[in-house]
Symmetry: C2
Subunit: 554 residues, 2 copies
């Protein structure tokens, strides 16, 4: 990993010099959405009704180009995927007066659930304590749809659904996606996923064949590598700095690709986490993203933009003793503060964006969504139809009640600002502890702008056993030494996608998302003690105290 480059944020310009519509200027204003919604046909809300996200978009995008066709990139599996023969019968369901003895959908008479209620925060009163004291109870009845009380209910949500998800929740995520990203091509659409882990699994099976290599960051999400490996798909790490993947390195790898020496055809699939990357915490600035997109255009790449941490972009870091930056003054200011997504600059439809509710609402919902061109979404949802199906209907009903009927788009932005400020506080805690307890002569870091992770670089050359012992050896000793001192961090080398590559530096990954402030501070203090011990440094501020008073939060 090379040192961080300066982060430039410039006007959104595509790589051929044509100025694109500023996605934030062209944004759908969230407060327009509800008034603009068309009164939909009731049959779109019915049991296992097919949903089409295109019908939920506001802009007609007549002036925008269509997405490129990706036939030449599809795997044998995906290219040969056909629709369901039984669904041929569905077209007759709309015939007036018809009685169907066709589809094997159980009757809701036998769902042993009469109602579901959730207590959730009042908008603007988001803390756990406030929710307990002043939360709102949202109610879903069994037959609310038939009784015209709601467009979603237990009889519908708890029955079978489509791979694309329910129209009810799909409408909401489509509107949200248009508001935040406004993709600059005409035939973009959305489909629900059961989370981005599954989204990546399906995407790899759509685009990769056994023996292929794909591209990702030099340090990358270990689960992504482990998803791909059994498919016979391995990951080439692209050099990165504190802003993530380096476009010129990506270009260099592809321009000099030798299929014989590499034992694989030239890669075309890029897996990237542009914001708050796992494990490095790196966030690609707007210019960096445009650089990566330009290389993708040059080499006809397809990009999987995995963005679980997009809304964990924090307030600007001002240092340990400076006053905080005031929170965004408006929803517009908040949306403008976000780094533009690759999706928002995707004129070709070469990006599949994976969004997730896991980091901003609750991972256990197992609900996320995919945004891509209609061709790619159609392949994706056909795959889902015969494997994952759509997300849990119980989860979809809970999220619909919260997001559509209660928060609305405006209230959800308020919630996201709340989360932003909370993560900003947590980052402040870990950075303050690092400043206080870690020996700067050995440990260095770049304050993360987004996400859950803080990435510590340890100068292995200062270790008394270096170079007689290898970096991974020193890493292992340090890792275990930290555990002896009753703290746990992840080894940087676990995130190197190609296990045959020896690391050139030593890193540790810490997360500030889970433990309490007190425990974060105490854990970092212990890490400081362990590093000093390992590196035989003179004890500084982090004096030795009795261990074992932290709890086992994980």
């Amino acid at each position: 990993m090379t040192p961080p480059a300066a982060i430039e944020v410039t006007a959104v310009t595509d790589t051929e010099g044509v100025t694109l519509p500023d996605p934030l200027q062209a944004n759908v204003k969230s407060n327009d959405i509800y008034g603009r919604r068309k009164k939909s046909e009731k049959n779109q809300w019915g049991v296992a009704a097919p949903a089409d996200a295109k019908t939920f978009r506001h802009h007609k995008h007549g002036h925008k180009p269509s997405a490129k066709n990706w036939d030449h990139r599809l795997s044998k599996e995906s290219a040969s995927r056909e629709g369901s023969s039984l669904k041929q019968a569905a077209k007759y369901l709309g015939k007036p007066g018809i009685i169907s003895l066709g589809g094997g959908l159980p009757s809701s008479d036998y769902f042993p659930f009469e109602s579901l209620e959730i207590k959730v925060p009042r908008i603007g009163h988001f803390s756990e304590q406030e929710t307990k004291e002043s939360g709102v109870v949202l109610h879903a009845g069994k037959h609310d749809l038939a009784e015209d009380k709601s467009i979603f209910d237990i009889a519908t949500a708890f029955n079978y659904g489509q791979g694309r998800g329910s129209a009810q929740l799909l409408r909401w995520v489509t509107e949200h996606t248009e508001m935040v990203h406004n993709p600059p091509y005409s035939d973009w659409t959305c489909t629900m996923s059961i989370g981005s882990t599954s989204g990546l699994d399906i995407a790899l099976r759509m685009f990769a064949e056994r023996g292929d290599l794909i591209l990702s960051e030099e340090y990358t999400f270990a689960t992504a590598v482990e998803t791909a490996a059994p498919m016979g798909v391995n990951v080439v790490g692209v050099p990165m700095d504190a802003e993530g993947m380096l476009p010129h390195s990506l270009d260099h790898i592809l321009s000099t690709w030798d299929p014989v020496a590499r034992g694989a055809r030239k890669p075309f699939l890029v897996y990237t986490v542009p914001t708050g990357q796992n494990p490095t915490g790196a966030t690609q600035g707007a210019a960096r993203r445009r650089g990566i997109y330009a290389v993708a255009q040059k080499h006809d790449l397809y990009i999987l933009e995995d963005e679980p941490y997009y809304f964990l972009q924090m307030q600007p870091y001002t240092g340990p003793n400076a006053p905080d930056v005031p929170p965004p003054a408006s929803h517009d200011a908040f949306l403008k503060s976000l780094v533009p997504s690759l999706l928002s600059m995707d004129v070709d439809g070469r990006v599949m964006r994976l969004d997730s509710f896991s980091k901003v609402l609750a991972p256990g919902s197992r609900v996320g969504w995919i945004t891509a061109s209609e061709q790619v979404v159609a392949r994706y949802s056909k795959h889902a139809d015969v494997s994952t199906q759509g997300p849990s209907g119980i989860s979809q009903l809970v999220l619909f009640k919260l997001l559509d009927e209660h928060f609305g788009h405006e209230g959800y932005l308020d919630w996201l600002i709340h989360i932003r400020l909370e993560y900003t506080k947590r980052r402040g805690v870990i950075l303050e502890a690092c400043e206080k307890y870690l020996p700067k002569e050995v440990v260095s870091w770049v304050p993360p702008m987004a996400g859950m992770f803080h990435w510590l670089r340890i100068d292995h050359t200062k270790h008394p056993s270096y170079p007689s012992r290898s970096i991974t050896d020193i890493e292992d000793t340090l890792y275990l030494n930290i555990i002896e001192h009753n703290a746990l961090m992840m080894k940087g080398s676990w995130f190197i996608p190609d296990k045959s590559v020896s690391p050139e530096a030593l890193f540790l990954r810490a997360t500030f998302c889970a433990a309490s402030s007190e425990n974060i501070t105490e854990a970092i203090r212990r890490v400081g003690v362990a590093v000093r011990e390992s590196f035989r440094l003179v004890e500084g501020k982090g004096e030795v105290v009795v261990e074992g008073n932290g709890n086992g939060v994980h």
Copy 2:
């Protein structure tokens, strides 16, 4: 499809003449389970805690054989699957006093949910109306686990989980599986699935390679065929009768397999729906199952036993005017009335059973489970860890509240008996309508013993255009003619796995699971009119009435 054979139910004897323990004799009695449960360590219930179903089994099974090893049957993908490197760190989480900055699990502080409540039936008062009037409200709080109010709560269920599912619900399904099936080998275990569609997708990727053929019924679940096809895996249909797959036909296909002529290695994977098969409604009797298992042993087959309809086994059919058979007098009598599963006779551990809550609770839960040997379950759950993950935590919490804390195993058996009687009534309605309205000179059927489907055989040789027009041609005309008369059924030919095979007979599939009794009767009356019209029969009982008064239930 050959004519139905007599259904024999004989003593459970394995194929080598050794009497196996009667699974129902050896059954765990449900009312023992709660008293027997060990007080589990609290950390098993915690956030993303690993769960091991073996710890929830009662019988130690010291006297039972171990499962066979299936290394020689695993696909390249599954054989090469390795565990997660990050999980290496998990072993330290139990260290007293350790503070983890390791795993990126979001804090439940930021889950905007304070409580969840569901209103469900009082045991024994199961109808929708009774539930509305006298249902019980079950409550889940955010921190019930920490506050010792429950072993499952929002803070836990709504966070990340393991691919195997939560220990809380996994315990319940393991106990239920032991009670009902009591597998006769020692190292069986369970893992949660996100439903059997996904279960089959994963199983095929575990056991099949591109170019393989697998075995299934001559008419089979179309989605199964469509799941396999894009993987390059096609299905060979095995001849069947009204009791499903014929063991001697299965044996014949395998014994005479010519890899060159077939263009594929000899198959070893059998996909079967033994109970209330989709589309034929066929249920394999105990002797039939033992016959299939014996062939599996002879040819070293691995069986995927897909059993969504197992608890839709109905009361014995007594005919249109005979009195009903009284409901099971006890839970024991109910369990004894069920056809024994392939799992219950699986001495070798060669069966992966797929169970689902879709047909007995609610499909939208997307929760099911897998029972197989530990080796196979470990491969399955490693696959799930990097793709589907476990089921929705929201669904798991809802089901745990209903099944474990409210119904209990006894109450759930009561619920299943309720469903059994309801489906018995529905079957009565469709059979009565068929007796009344369908022309017997052309249409014949076997009353289904289980499931959701009624399979009608149409004697195509009586059609005025036969043999000048093909069976599929006549089928298509009849199908459309039924639609003209405002009823919808599925074409039998859609369920033929190999599209190059021409059907030898004409079938229609009707479901009695969804429409109301009145609509079922009216739809069958319309089918009768359409068949008479197509076959130019003299109008019998089904006189022509005005169409279009049914509603569009589907």
